[in-house]
Amino acid sequence: MRRTLALIAALALVASGLAQTPLKVFIGGQQRPDVIGPLLEQFNAENPDIVATFEVGGATSDVQQQYLNTVLTSRSGELDIFLIDVVRPAQYAASGWAEPLNQFFDSEAAMMAYLEDFLPGPIEANLIDGTLYALPAFTDAQFLYYRADLLEKYGFEPPTTWEELKSMALTIQQQEGDPNLQGFNYQGFQGEGTICTFLEALWSAGGNWVDADGNVTLVTPEAERTMAWYEDTLASGITVENIAEMSTDLSRQQFQAGNVVFMLNWGYAWAHFQGNSPQDTVVAGKVGVAPLPSFEGFDSATCIGGWQWAINPYSENKDAAWRLLEFLASPDSQRVLAVEASNIPARESLYTDPAVLAAAPHFGDFYDVIVNARSRPVTPFYNDVSEAIRYPMNAFFARQLSADEALQEMQRGVEEALDF
């Protein structure tokens, strides 16, 4: 009798296990598994028929992408949902690596109504020719960080043009007399941040990498003005000579050590400056955030960042995956991510949410920058285009290519990348 009971119990356990749909979510080490984990537990409690677990791999956008390349090239359905960088959806759409999400809505109008609350930038990246490939998890942008204490000391307001930035930086450097104090720090290394360095100044000169007809426009007066500006940052001494090795996190650390007046960087740096960081901070409470400067007479612009939830087209549990996706993209989940992980919300309504503003008051300042953030090239060949811009830029900072040579190399490289 006892054995029979045990057998029945075991069978029941197996049956209940069979009835539950397993879901595997893939995130990177930088995306706060300690916050995502409890979110999934909450989802599992609310949805007894689904068991969602997560897998962590890679701590940078590039490494995470390399792992997903392997999984998706082998058409594995082992992961059901993954986070992808905002530059990826176009490539995922072309490769058939993200399940179109239109099917989960009753109508196109219903879909557009659902997307209304999201910021336009991330939606622009995820909605490709009317097909939705992913939902924004959180967003990001490059900001102008400045030393509020130093600006106040010399009676400056945050600069609105690059010229202003230069003269303020020079004044502060001279008056402070500290040889280690950098006026202006940005990313010039062989990596993703460098494309933003180039594009942000190009956009703020009224240019773009491509014109309305799709012609590559990198040898133009606007682009030349961009290069002349960066040449000037080095010549005037507001930027250090080793800018060619300046990676995103190296920039952040130098600012945090009190060695920088102005810096371009992503939203994650804020929390570090306030003390939530493995390194010591000497700038807690002394940091301000402003929109990027521009050239006189043109609008300021910045690069959009952030991460998207997508469904693996090889997944066997797409309906369950959609339910989880909806949960993760919901205002409640994004509020949790904003409050506990300082992720910048992709939903407009959260920028006036009292809980969010109480935990992250700076998001109020971020909003004006975030809404004007622009996309890096939206193309299935993003890696090639990115390489074609970042290499000449890095070589220019390393004095291997002159400004003109770098622009010609970019023009040729981007054209070649798009002409396959």
Partner: protein, 387 residues
């Protein structure tokens, strides 16, 4: 016709048709069936599992990469499928537009290659190398350096893939510099670790630690040491009154920094192999030499170096092969930058794969494979020259 022709059987038939079949060794399959294989056959049979495993994990992937390199395959252009395109990738890799032939093109490098071939003949004459080996390599050098290296894009042309040639020369440069460097540092280390002393254990631990460290970690660590503003290296140079260079922000210093790092990480390996070789040298040889009044230097040249040759060869093979495939340290230090100053073939293959251009990445991987294979064959023939 008294006794009949001797070549005829008594029945009048030719002898050859009547004699019973001469004894024939049973065939391979028959012996196998009867459970009575010869020793050679048995050896062959026992080799089959190992050969199968080798074929599965080595030759099959190599064959697949070769096959893939002959196909167009870009995962972000799935509409185009995976058509066979022959040698198009290799043409892109090795050729350019408006190609012209000029005897003076790359003259220095070509002369260097010819000098290398002459060196092989010198080695053959001294019995260090077999003549056929020297001959084969001379033919290769004449074909590649004599004929092919004269081709280059003319005024109006350019290489199809200048990035490949950059990666190729960066790889060669790192290989030559870092292999030479790791021997220059590794050999003294091994000699030091072989000296009887109370502190020998310390030297041996120092030999092991760099080798036990993950390379990526070494790269990240040295990137910090070579950092222009906060790095230890420039701090020390500054104290000595020398203005440190922009190590990782300029092409030439970056090459030095990468090679110094690679030598630091790999000379320990060379040292360990050479130490093993040193310990197998018979002490009595040195004693005899001392009785004969040989100086330290003479003992080193006449005993240590020649007897160390097999160990040197082993260390050289492994060191050169890993050097040709260099990826981790330059990637961790600068991601191949500044510009493309540290972009080795390994890094280029990785970048191309990550751009999802699998077909071309396969062709680049084949180029890397051919380079490694050529070096291995040369070394192996050199090691076995005496046998």
């Amino acid at each position: 016709m008294s006794a009949g022709a001797p070549y005829l059987h008594k029945d009048g038939l030719p002898l050859a048709l009547t004699t019973p079949h001469a004894y024939r060794r049973p065939g391979f399959w028959r012996r196998l069936r009867t459970g009575n294989p010869t020793e050679a056959q048995l050896g062959l049979i026992l080799l089959i599992p190992a050969a199968l495993v080798l074929a599965l994990v080595m030759f099959w992937p190599i064959a697949q990469v070769l096959w893939q390199s002959l196909h167009f395959e870009r995962l972000n252009v799935p509409a185009r499928g995976r058509p066979f395109i022959g040698f198009e990738h290799y043409q892109r890799m090795l050729w350019g537009s408006d190609m012209t032939w000029d005897a003076r093109h790359l003259l220095g490098w070509r002369l260097l290659a010819f000098a290398g071939a002459a060196g092989l003949w010198w080695g053959a004459a001294r019995g260090v190398l077999r003549r056929p080996t020297a001959l084969i390599w001379t033919v290769i050098v004449v074909l590649v350096a004599g004929l092919w290296m004269g081709y280059h894009p003319g005024e109006a042309g350019r290489w199809n893939d200048a990035r490949f040639w950059n990666a190729f020369s960066i790889t060669l440069l790192i290989t030559v510099a870092s292999v030479a460097g790791s021997f220059l540092v590794g050999l003294p280390l091994a000699l030091l670790a072989n000296v009887e002393s109370r502190w020998r254990w310390l030297v041996r631990i120092a030999l092991l630690i760099p080798w036990a460290m993950p390379r990526v970690l070494v790269g990240v660590m040295f990137a910090w040491l070579f950092n222009y503003t906060n790095g230890v290296v420039n701090d020390l140079l500054g104290r000595a009154g020398i203005a440190g260079p922009l190590w990782l922000s300029r092409a030439e210093p970056a090459m030095w920094a990468a090679n110094i790092t690679i030598v630091w990480a790999t000379s320990a390996f060379v040292g360990l192999i050479l130490l093993a070789g040193l310990q197998s040298i018979d002490e009595s040889l040195y004693e005899a030499a001392m009785v004969d009044g040989a100086s330290r230097l003479q003992r080193f040249w006449a005993i240590t170096l020649p007897l160390l040759r097999p160990s040197i060869a082993v260390a050289l093979i492994f060191r050169t092969l890993t050097a040709i495939q260099t990826f981790d340290i330059p990637y961790a230090m600068t991601q191949g930058g500044p510009g493309r100053a540290l972009e080795t073939l390994g890094i280029y293959v990785s970048n191309t794969t990550n751009s999802l251009n699998l077909g071309y990445a396969a062709a680049l991987a084949v180029a890397l494979f051919v380079m490694s294979l050529a070096i291995t064959v040369l070394y192996l023939r050199w090691i076995y020259a005496d046998d």
